[in-house]
Symmetry: C2
Subunit: 339 residues, 2 copies
């Protein structure tokens, strides 16, 4: 049997799976932000032609899936498997996107870490020869998240300064055994970390310890240093969570410094867009990766990145019952197409 495991949490991919195509669908606010040029579809209609926010989210995923298949020049029948999940109760965004498509489907739940989780699982499936042309897909929607986790929009609730803004967007990436494009080189699977943070309006702080744990595990398991990457990009800690991660790392003597970026701070303009601590939601890291970051890897502007999807594993029920917010982070190392 092959031995691709490294250390406690990581594995390498001796035959590196290739991300041959990617697609992103964004809402109006995201389309007014600094990454607008990198999105395939920007919709001015927040309902995406549907009657409910949940169906709007499903529709975004569907558009991302169809756009990806179109961009990749493959047929739906050629897709081997879709890994997908979202934040909606029982992941109905994903289930209703996939229904009656005939595409094999594995449902994931990793909250906002889902894009990284999906890429990690797709890497296993492709490199192990269990499937090919495997898609990682996820979404989030500002209005469905506000209703589910916070308050109905009509209440006009005040947002705290530490709050993040859930990205309306869906991202999809196609992982293949052969082809041209950025390649996945190794992955690190996260553990569920909980330091007792209970403020559901400060999820960056709740997720920062998980992000640090996974980055540290990745560097240790693979005997690497932050300098081995052009960019270590978390998603979605927001500004406060990013600061907390830098501080945590510094205390342990790890200097992430100028190499650290966060999808939550990349996706919006902090000054002009009034999003407080930054973006969040499964869609945040998904549209930042499946546009801006993979584009820069493709063009050679970035040589190698560590994409660290972070998720806050709370539910309104656990919060109401007074429980803290566990976090998780999965990391995927991606090398540029020209490396």
């Amino acid at each position: 049997m092959a031995d691709n495991k490294r250390g406690k949490h990581s594995f390498v991919l001796p035959q590196m799976p290739v991300i041959t195509a990617w697609a992103s669908v964004a809402g109006k606010k995201e389309g007014q932000g600094p990454l607008a040029q990198s999105f395939d579809v920007i919709s001015g209609d927040t309902y995406f032609g549907q009657k409910t926010w949940e169906q709007a989210e499903k529709q975004m995923q569907k558009i991302a899936l169809d756009t990806l298949i179109d961009k990749a020049g493959v047929t739906r029948q050629q897709i081997g498997l879709v890994f997908s999940g979202d934040l909606l109760n029982q992941c109905i965004g994903s289930s209703f996107t996939l229904r009656n498509t005939g595409i094999p489907h594995i449902g994931l739940y990793g909250a906002c870490s889902t894009m990284a989780e999906g890429l990690l699982m797709a890497s296993m499936a492709v490199c192990g020869g269990f499937s090919d042309k495997v898609i990682a897909l996820t979404s989030s929607h500002f209005a469905s998240s506000e209703r589910q986790y916070r308050f109905p929009l009509g209440y006009g609730g005040q947002r705290t300064p530490t709050a993040q803004w859930t990205v309306t967007g869906a991202g999809a990436a196609l992982v293949c055994s052969a082809g041209k494009g950025p390649r996945i080189e190794s992955c690190t699977i996260g553990t569920v970390t909980d330091l007792g943070i209970k403020d559901a309006n400060n999820m960056g702080a709740a997720m920062a310890p998980a992000a640090y744990d996974t980055i540290r595990a990745h560097l240790e398991d693979l005997h690497r240093a932050p300098e081995d990457y052009d960019l270590i990009v978390t998603g979605d800690l927001g500004q406060l969570g990013k600061d907390a991660l830098l501080e945590l790392a510094k205390r342990e003597g790890v200097y992430l410094g100028g190499r650290l970026a966060d999808c939550g701070t990349l996706v919006y303009d902090a000054v002009k867009q009034d999003v407080h601590s930054g973006g969040s939601g499964c869609g945040c890291s998904a549209i930042t990766l499946c546009g801006h970051l993979l584009g820069q890897l493709q063009s050679g502007k970035l040589g190698k990145i560590l994409f660290c999807g972070t998720g806050a594993l709370l539910s309104p029920t656990s919060t109401q019952q007074g429980l803290p917010i566990p976090g998780v982070c999965h990391a995927v190392s991606i090398v540029g197409g020209s490396v």
Copy 2:
């Protein structure tokens, strides 16, 4: 690159991963049913010492995980990865079980198909050499499900004759690259199937088409017949869903006949236990597998089974919005320890 893919939906495992240990935790009602002897733990306290139903469910998973690790004679530090998920919003049963254990965790959402989904993913992870000593874990709780999907128990709502009874139970299985025990030989990944059933009190009917699709795909992809298995065991269609599956298969000329069993009908005594159409929930197929079925494979009473986890991918929100109930089914072929 290895090519283990077969047909559209299936893959084989050239180095068969071994299920070296398993554990099940059951509630009071399940402990009064026909499979009682096969459970490791039966609790008379439906709260499992906790203050809420959701925390009770977490506690069951925790006991199942700890019992499994104990039975396997390994340490927590030796566990490579846990795949787990449950029915609770945002899968908090699983997240809170894993928090601060230090065990790498991938969250799944497959509704009641989670045990099969977890075994399928564990097979990929182990056979591909990406991890070892990988656990598939899941749970459901009658009271947390009733509250979330139907009515608070205190309302004393009448149950329809087609309704199923959510199993209070948690199951866990350890999948290893070497060792003694039943082995996983091949898997088939399901597609999301929806024939328009909208009755959330008749989930067996909603899931039967998905079960049929996956069983048919498995037989076609691997050029097999139902006779190649001692038992084809779905979970959890219940009596009505099982009848619907038999009828669907018969129409297509596939005779599942005496080889078909369903975890929802195995776990309770239909005459004495007043569960209407049978058991359901992630825990239903999990405790039936991680006790009764794996025990029979171990002892040689069964030589080869096709374990078909079925899931209804609805949420209360999708039902309230008038949408039908998509179903999914993942199949895992397991051969006995003595074969």
